[in-house]
Each structure stands twice: as C-alpha cells, then as structure tokens.
Symmetry: D2
Subunit: 182 residues, 4 copies
C-alpha cells in the first residue's frame, strides 16, 4: 500500500516565466506514485487544500532584488495559518526565476526559506551540484532559473525545466518519506 | 553658504506603528540645517521628488519574515528609475518595525539594503552600539524598532523614537557631506 | 521496537557561552527515547560519527556579524563530505549565541541554513512563537540565545537554556520520524 | 589641489584566484589621481594603515556558502577597531570569487556588507547592470567573480578582471567625493 501525499505549489508569475517553472515542478511532483500535486496561482489559492497539504512549494519571480509584491501579498496572508500553527511540521521548498543569472535571486530564496521557518516547516533544498548542465545557476537553497527577455514559450530553457521537474520529484519523495514516518 | 540637501522618506505602514518611526526619522532629518525632508507613504509617492532627492530612506514593517507587500509593491515600481540609473549614487538607508524584538527584522533590513544596492545607492548604516537604551534591539544595517500589540499612540516607545530621530540626524549629515563633495 | 537515531551537535565556543547552549541542546536530544546524542567541539570532531549521523546540529557564536572563524574553519572542512554527497538528505538545525539581543545573529543562522542547503540537508526550524518567555529573542530559522558579559556559569539564562533543551527534543523527534519513513 | 585619499584592500585567497581580483581592484583604485591604494593579504595586515584609510575594500572567496574562514578570522579581529568606533564613517565595498556562477556568493557579499554596517561604514555597491559582458554574474551588492578549476594565471577571465578594475575606479571616486565633503 503506497503512502499518499498531497503537495501544493503556490506561485506568482508576472509575465508567465515563473508559471512555466511552477508547472514543471508540479509535473515532477505528480510523476511520483501516490502523490497528488495541486498548482495554485497566488490569485486563486484554495486555503483548505494548502492547510491539508503535506508539503507546500513556494514560487516567486525575483523583482528588484526580492520576491515579487504579488507573492509577498500571499505570504503576508499566511499570517492566519501561522497564528494557528496550521503549517507547522509540513515540508516546504522554493524556487525563483529572473532575468539575471545570479545575484539577488538568492535573496528571494532566502526569503522563501525564512517564510517556511516562521511557519515551522522543514525546508527541502535543491541538493544538485552545479555540473553537466544541471543547476547551471549554482543555487543550493532552492531552484533558481533564468529567463531571457522573450516569450515564456521559449524561455526559460530546457536545462532549467529539467531542474524544475527533478526538484518536483525530489520534493515528492521527501514528502512521502516524512509522511510515512509520522 | 550652507549646502542644501533634499531627503525623502518612503514608508508603508499597515497599522500606524511604522508611520510613527517614519515621522521621527523625518523630524531628525529636518532638524539639520539646510535639509529639506519629505515624507511619503507608499500610497502617495511623488516620483519627481524622489528622483530629485539626494538621499532616500526606505521604511517597511516586517510581516511574515520580510518587508510588507505594501512596501514591496513600491519597491517593484522602482524598476523604472533603476532602468534609467536615476537613483545611482544617491544615498540610502532603511528602517523596519515589528512586534518581535528581533529575528526576521534583519531580513527586511537586508532586503532594503539589497534594493539600494541594485539602484546603485550607497548605504548608510545605523552606526549606534546597542547600549544605554540606544539601539536596544541590536541592529546595525539599519534601524529595527519594536511595537507592542497596542495603539501607535503608545508604541513603539520613547527609546525607539529617540533612535529614529538620531538616525535621521545621521542620515542628514552624511547626505550633506556627500553632496558637498560632489 | 524503537527507531534508534544518531544525532551530532558540532559547535564552536570562544568563551564558553555557546558551549552551554550546545550542552542543553544535547541534553534535549538525549532525553528522547532511542536517540544517541553526540557532542563535538570543532576542535575535536569525529568525522566518522558525523558521517554516520542521521542529523547534525550546527552551533556557532556570532562574532562581528556572522559565524565565528572557528566555526567557519569547520564548515570549510565539510567540503569533503559535500564533494561525496555524504550528508545529503540528513537533517540539520542550528543555533547561535551573542551578546546582543538580536540583529546580526540572524546572519549566522542564515549561514548555517545555507551550509545545510549546500550539503543537501533538510532544515529543521525552531517552530516556537516568541511568547511567555519562550524564544524571547524572536528567531525562527533556528535558536538565537543571548549572554551577558559574565561567566558562562550564569549566562545565558534559564529561559534560553529551556529553549535549547526543547529545541533538542524537537530535533530528535523530527529525526526519528525522518528515519522511520526511510 | 587634488584631494588625496588612502584606500586599502584586505583579502584572503586560498588558491590565488581571489588575489587576482584583489590586484585588479587595487589597480583600478590606483589609476585614479590622488589615490594611494594599499593591498593586504589577511595574513599580513597593517592595522595602522587600515585605521588611517578613508575606505577599506573587503575580499573573500566563497567557501561552503560563505566567506572563507581565513577572511572570517580577519573579520573577527576587527572587533578591536569596532570597539573604539575606529572605522565609523569610512567607506566600504566588497568582492568575492568562487567556482560557481552564482548562488551562495551572495551570502558572502551580504556578510561583507554586514561587517561594514557593524563598523558603521557606508557601503558602495557595484552599480553596474549585467549586460554587454559587464557584471556577467549579475550581482549588485558587490563584485562576484567566477573562476574555473584552473590556474589563477588563466582564470577568472578578462571580463571579471575588467569588472574588478572598474569597481576599483568607482570606489576611488566615491572615496574622494566623501573625503572632499568632510
């Protein structure tokens, strides 16, 4: 009998690029047996599903050196589950996308990990060394993808999409393990 | 002939506590001869004045481990001056208020310093040792005040207000010096 | 049959205060049935035990705004297990002590979480709200204690020691759960 | 009459790559008229020169997600000037080098900015947009260079060296302006 786990991805996407990454993470999650993976834009969150989830994955574009205001508005609204310890001991992970290879994307990942910590959630890092085209941007705390100034249909590219799918698989496996041990 | 400097404070305040701090910073700025100090809520920013300012002070409450979405929406909108290098080589400083003594207020100050760096602005730190009731919360990157769960008329308290006024004076003096050297 | 878990605490302590916290964390760990808790100063680390541990807790004083050089030398030496993914999917947690209530202790906790992420370890946050004397310094990412300028026999005080013991218990329970689910 | 400014670069380099960057920053500093630029490895610091400097530039390789222990030992030793406010109101800037394009280099730059803030020093950011081969790694808080797994004679490459030289020029000009305004 398999352990069934419910995992939600909550993301904001201003121009569609972060949505591409969110969808790939969700595909990776859903590819693992026994995992139900839900995907929510911050504009259309089902709080009952989040509260029932075993893990929540946060995704935000990096704008002006940090998580977008659209994502931050969602984060501020999580004061309600925080107040009731509703997300304590769930698992969490995070990803961000921006136009630059590096730099301030780390600030967004740090924020997402801070949010998770405040909620009492355990944080799942990327755990992929930067080599052979994987994790080409060299992040460890979470996934940092990069899109060019073009349509979300063509960017971010395949390497980043593969990282996103693999991260979903990793998050799903960790969540099943955490749930099985309860 | 005195050097005249224009300094703006831009803040978001959800419940009025951060506004108290913003007002005290502005008082400190305005107490220095030759300084014109302007105060803007993020809901009512005059971008022409910001663009003309010699220094800009950023203020945001810490909500859920980072700057409030209200402040972040303003920060995201600074992509326009960033694009044109309009704020490059201005001075910057920052403050935050929250209900807890410590912890994640640092994340907000880090974000404000990141925003300033992305704009190419030089960052003025608090430069007050935590002692004798001054800088009681022990921050260095900027000013971190703390309010109790009560009306902004009574909290944050006098020690934090004194820190805010003094920080305004320091920012004003640094700005005059920076402008005089141009 | 109980799950047996091995958990190590690795700490640096310049003046003995961080050692007090480390000991209390270890007491908390060891109070949980089925947990073997080992305590290592950075000067006397048994790498075989670390590599065999199910979880590793990092402890460093905050000196000049970050983890002490003594701890950082240990962290730099973890490049060897990192290279071989030896610590991947272990659990991790962290604590820091300093003379100030707040501020830059967060930078040390952020560094410890960064180190854990680079190693591919899942991060266990404190998960205690700042109230009723618990978590009096208001940290979430890990434990932040504060010592006065006095002997480690009298400072940090009982409240911080209780937080340290409780954090040990929490880490032990999470580790048993994570191991049981494998 | 030109303003004469004294600027020091203090760096740690484990394998020689960060030393290459430090030398290029110093070249940039020294190329500006009226600037005396001194270069110190952390193993051979002249504290009198640092204390007399108008600006200090910090350089550290990123090891295991943060500044190297070698640099941190120097930073810990700056408790002495900190105690006496000896570096208050000097200018500061920072750079880091690592083998990865991105990610945790930001943590090192954040630490260097934190150190500067604790000392009460104003922070000069890079202020170069990531484009046309400049600032190819996309950092803003300071300079983040990247070296391959090869000799310091060939890596980091020319683009990063140009960034380092230009950053030196920028730091020198800011320091002259700050000093002239005193």
């Amino acid at each position: 009998m398999s352990t069934n786990a419910l995992i939600s991805v909550v993301y904001h996407s201003g121009y569609g690029h972060t949505a591409v990454v969110a969808n790939k993470v969700q595909e990776g999650l859903a590819s693992v047996e026994g995992v139900e993976a839900r995907l929510f834009s911050v504009d259309d969150v089902d709080w009952d599903v989040l509260n029932a989830s075993d893990a929540i994955v946060f995704g935000a574009p990096t704008y002006m050196g940090g998580p977008s205001a659209g994502f931050k508005a969602f984060a501020d609204a999580t004061a309600k589950p925080w107040f009731g310890d509703a997300w304590k001991d769930k698992l969490a992970a995070g990803f961000t996308n921006s136009g630059s290879n590096a730099g301030d994307k780390q600030v967004t990942l740090q924020y997402l990990a801070t949010l998770a910590a405040q909620q009492g959630m355990l944080w799942i890092p990327l755990a992929v060394k930067s080599a052979n085209g994987l994790n080409r941007n060299g992040y460890y705390l979470g996934l940092g993808t990069q899109s060019d100034n073009d349509s979300p249909e063509v960017t971010p590219g395949d390497a980043d999409k593969t990282d996103a799918f693999n991260f979903g698989v990793r998050i799903a496996q960790a969540t099943k393990r955490w749930k099985a041990g309860a």
